[in-house]
Symmetry: D2
Subunit: 423 residues, 4 copies
């Protein structure tokens, strides 16, 4: 694929952002491309997922809506059929003689953010703004998928010896898909795994050879149930689920900071009540806690459970708390980081190389990295700088498309060098 | 209509509860019935509403969904067409010679409550539970509409002299429809207006001749807008709309009680955020305040505005506050109350008559009552007792269907006696 | 005592406001006056109190401080000695032949409010502003005590037949003294009891013959205990008592309003923590709940207990909740109200008489009223209007001193007429 | 001074913990000891402080109370007189020929914590528990002062060449005294400054050669003023300062965590209201914010100001926010850290040496360190491990008294080696 074809692909994906397990158009488009390559294997949908480890799968209505939307957007019907029920993602395999098995993991999902329409927002100005109103590729996964394809092509054309597997993983944003792909079996023979992320406040031309400091994360859903009553006639007869929810929110954010390291908490999605004149019977919080270590995440989990339960108790409500998704922490292995660093330093387009940096966010690539490391392999997570006007997860996020090519070169170069290691 | 036909009608309406401006099936069903009567006029939809005074009209999508649902449920297509755009409700007119114009106002909308499936909940056991899942006639408006038709038939068969107008009003629950019907012009020549409500904690066989103490009410919608950010990587860059919302909720409920009389506040519906890993950019509260007098309601309005604005300011959010619906207070006129009381006392099915009671809730019948009273006419609001297992606005609410007949008799009797007064 | 002597006495008392059980100067000053009268009995301090029923007695340090202050202000040493340990108050008895025993109850304590120094605040301008900085007669009890003495003198000079007892009660503001005096035995032979209050938003020249609607009240003290920690080095090791307290306060004020009538809640006094750099281990709320009926007060009590306990639980704190003082509701008896009304109407200085009004506050006179009523006697609570520039319990509260004379005349007149009733 | 004398001194100081600017007994006791040495200069009280830079000075009453307490505890009258007005602390100077000027800074104040009476709390069991009930040496400053004296003696007996200044600094806990001593002029000629802290979760026998990561800190006092009202009769007329305070507290703790590093917030001391039946007019929060860098501290300051102001606004209150004390961050210089490390490693009692560690708390030693560093000198902050049963700032904190001797040896050794450097 040429540079301009890569950009064209990225823009097409950018126009069709889809949330976890709804990446129907995205998967179909990628598979459509992949089928034109001379691959040794191409696994799609249910073939790349461990059924029991899918997390945060949306309900049937939502799946259907996105399925139809993908069809309307022109996704190939025969591929779509293979994805039914929300089994998205793909794994492409290239076998090139004796040598280690190297994996590259890229993620493909979008976010529920309404994309900017400002004239100085390139996708708006350039006519490739999101067509799925209210959703947006605001974290660069459109570029990630594109880089995955670019690397595959680059390796195919190289003198690579070994096996390359490119993992197109669904549902990263909700920590929904990583574990399912990690447990699919496709990682079992991977000796070396690279994963990559664009941006992260690093400018175009900068490469971070090894990223660490992934925050362990746990998503939860708290559902409060009280008792309804007429808000005018009998306010005292209600047990107010929204009051319980509000008390919980205020106290969730005020869980004490921890001296051992960074923690996070967010009540990201709330919903409650049915009418202004009914004391609300139901309310819910979709939230998450994080920690610099698994222990810190668990500290936040325990405190948040206590807050939520006591808030319910205070307002005579019941509450059910479900854990919706979790990811561990992980570290990049020195040997791989050294290889990536060397490759990057020798690349003319790379202006600056940082050996190690800290993410400060969470990533379910850690599931795949752990899987490989637990099997005795090595893994690294690489940062590909890009000038991005707005921050990640904001409506003006965008990438410098030149970074896509740099990412392809550095990752392909690293894979070539990695293949020369012997496990 | 016979008693059993009335019950059948009530059950059909019960199965099809619809929210404000979406009473497509209900209106169509009532109009279908009304057309078989020998009426002097029948006004439908836009003909009975003042365009500018419709409040809390839902968006087009919601209107369309309910319109389709009514069609699917078998509503007559020709009537439905007249209601398009959410113009629901009807006014039936019977002219019977010289005499005053007497109005009867009944409301027809349902509530966003999921109806009980318990075996001891009569509609569930009897097979006429709500077919619109998540919605329910939990306040008896199905019976009100039925009583309206029953009274019309009873008067038609009587020696009534004068004009009877029955107002089938949409959107009472959200205080959405009263003003629009009050300002439609159809009230201008009404000399006496009766309105009625079933239940209200009064048992079957009890009549309240005049209800007062309507709480003045004001509905509002507060929409908070902050700034999103990645909850793990950059929490400090967000301006958290859900934190602003939660702070507002806690402080709304804690607005000081007022020594001059009863006040109310409810944050009835909330919504906010898009994903657990994004600091929420948007959140909203649909709420209401009430007061025993208009002044008390305004005290609550002013305090609630201050709370909401300061909560937004605290979290660096913007907030827009819209008033969605208002209703004044009102009182029942002595002359009418006396007539109703006399009629009730002489009715064999009535076991107990209370002359005056206090509602403690709100009602936009007050708009119609005020309209008539401002024109020099008289108005009264009547309570028709019914044994109801669950409270109003709860999922086990139901009526004793015998009360429908009692309601028809007392109201028709009162209308006959009222017609003999000379304004 | 002449009018000007009464005014002089009131101003002296006004300069020496003292809180519950610390009314040393006040009692000594009153006893000093009373001893110059030809009384049949004068009971002081411990003689007028039931030991076990004293509530909210301050600690020894506070008692000592106020005791010294009274001495420094010139209180008679021999009287002070009789009050040691915080036994304040007095009962003066006048026996004038055969006839019923009539009681008059007045209260004598002040409030912890800093008095205004404004030029238009009469006590400041007139040189009789509070000398006990931070305390103030902001509810008119200085006038009440003065009226008590004035009535005693007026009856002494009249042809009254029977026995008059004037109760100078300590500790009304904290609901601390009423029960103790009610249970002292001095009420046992009282046939008729009058109690009075000045102001209450009624203007000078207005009399309320019977006040009802006392809110039942319950005071509480909630003490939260958590675990301290260094706020910088180990914030996660603290269990924060001030967070628990703040959560409780927010939710106390937001206990649902009750449809059956007025309720109140106040977190009136808080304290917590020891240093800015220590996660606070202890915090307390001194608060109260009220209800239009005892049931409503108990509703508030139960809800407030739940809020406080859950707030403690939420922040892993212990909490102890103590009830500090309670008073029931009470009603004025018709026969007495009628007598007061007649007397007031025939008094030239009285411009307007209201037969019944509602207090909307609480009063532990209700203990004395109930005691008499339980013994088969009658009781009434009378309002003596006065123009007051600031509201009760604010720093600009003051009385129109002409009202003192009106109060004396109306109450003395009523006592004379009451004495002619036969129990 | 022998080991056992040092322990005796420490226990005496332990029995007399005093807060900032009230270290009357402590200073007098130390000066009494120092006067028996052959010093070249001894500065006391006002001589060691910059008047304008004293922060958080208590009011006169508190100063007087502690002054009297010191006198009652047997402090020398002639020394006490020099400390009047809260000018505590001392600087001892030893001149021993040509050589650099080396400073040692120790702090001397206690904390408002009630010391444990448990049998397994050594001071309780050993009879040297705090005699100032409610106050405690819960952070080891009694040991610091003792170490200061021990080092002075050790150097006096050595072949040290140069000048040694020992700074006995008051008011560290409230960040009250550091700046005042730093700006006193006594630091101007100091070439090298050592400061030390015992404990910090390091065990006996462990030395941290250089401590960094002091959190920048800012103390504040927020005073809310509303309007009082009778809580029963006119709740709506109050502007509730305690509600404003509670809203502020809840939202202070929930200021978003910052991705750039550690932040802290604490509402450490609160007070408000005067009576349960008065809507509270006044309330205050004594609190602090911290940050890993000055920028992070300022982020917290700005956010906290916004929260406090909006909470006041929400409840129609005024608020005044005063900054009560601040301290910057600081770092230990490599050259000094290396010397301390070498000395420690060669000391037989030292079992483990850590070169660098992070404090995670705040310290106003940073003012003195900065002063020296700004003048071109070097500074280091050293940790002296000790087994401590309870955490710092808790009621069971205690030290292993053997650590005092180790601290003296390591610090004296380091001072000797430092003196051989040439600035």
């Amino acid at each position: 694929m040429t540079s301009s074809e890569l950009v064209e692909l990225r823009r097409d994906l950018h126009q069709h952002p889809e949330p976890a397990w709804c990446e129907f158009y995205t998967t179909a488009r990628l598979v459509d491309e992949l089928e034109t390559r001379d691959l040794d294997a191409l696994y799609v949908g249910p073939e790349v997922l461990s059924e029991d480890d899918r997390m945060a799968v949306p309900d049937g209505d939502k799946l259907t809506t996105w399925f139809e939307r993908a069809r309307d957007a022109g996704a190939r019907e025969d591929i779509l059929e293979r994805l039914e029920g929300g089994y998205t993602g793909a794994v492409a395999v290239l076998e090139r003689g004796e040598g280690p098995t190297v994996g590259l993991r890229v993620d493909i999902d979008g976010l529920p953010i309404t994309e900017s329409e400002d004239a100085d927002h390139a996708p708006a100005a350039g006519g490739f703004r999101s067509e799925n109103e209210g959703y947006m590729h605001a974290c660069g996964h459109d570029s990630h998928a594109t880089i995955g394809l670019g690397v595959l092509d680059a390796i195919a054309e190289s003198d690579f010896e070994g096996t390359l597997k490119v993992f197109f993983q669904p549902g990263e944003e909700q920590i929904a898909g990583g574990k399912s792909m990690a447990k699919s079996g496709h990682l079992d023979d991977v000796d070396y795994l690279l994963a990559a992320h664009i941006g992260l406040d690093h400018p175009s031309g900068e490469i971070v050879a090894g990223i660490d400091g992934f925050l362990a994360v746990s998503h939860f859903e708290a559902e409060f149930t009280g008792a309804p009553a007429h808000a005018g006639a009998r306010p005292e007869q209600g047990d107010n689920a929204i009051q319980a929810m509000a008390t919980a929110i205020q106290n969730l954010y005020s869980i004490p900071r921890h001296a051992d390291g960074a923690t996070r908490v967010n009540a990201g999605v709330v919903e409650g009540g049915t009418a202004t004149n009914i004391i609300p019977e139901e309310a819910s919080i979709g939230g998450e806690v994080r920690g610099e270590t698994t222990e810190l995440m668990e500290y936040m989990e325990e405190k948040s459970r206590r807050v939520i339960r006591s808030a319910a108790e205070m307002h005579a409500c019941e509450v059910a708390i479900n854990t919706e998704g979790k990811a561990p922490s992980a570290t990049s292995d020195d040997e791989l980081v050294a290889i990536v660093s060397d490759v990057a330093k020798s690349n003319a387009s790379v202006e600056s190389v940082i050996d190690r940096d800290v993410l400060g966010g969470s990533e379910d690539a850690t599931y795949l990295m752990q899987e490989v490391q637990d099997n005795g392999g090595l893994a690294a997570y690489i940062g590909v700088g890009t000038d991005h006007p707005g921050g990640h997860h904001t409506r003006t996020f965008d990438v410098d498309e030149d970074s896509i090519g740099i990412g392809v070169e550095v990752l392909a170069g690293a894979i070539l060098d990695v293949a020369e290691m012997r496990p």
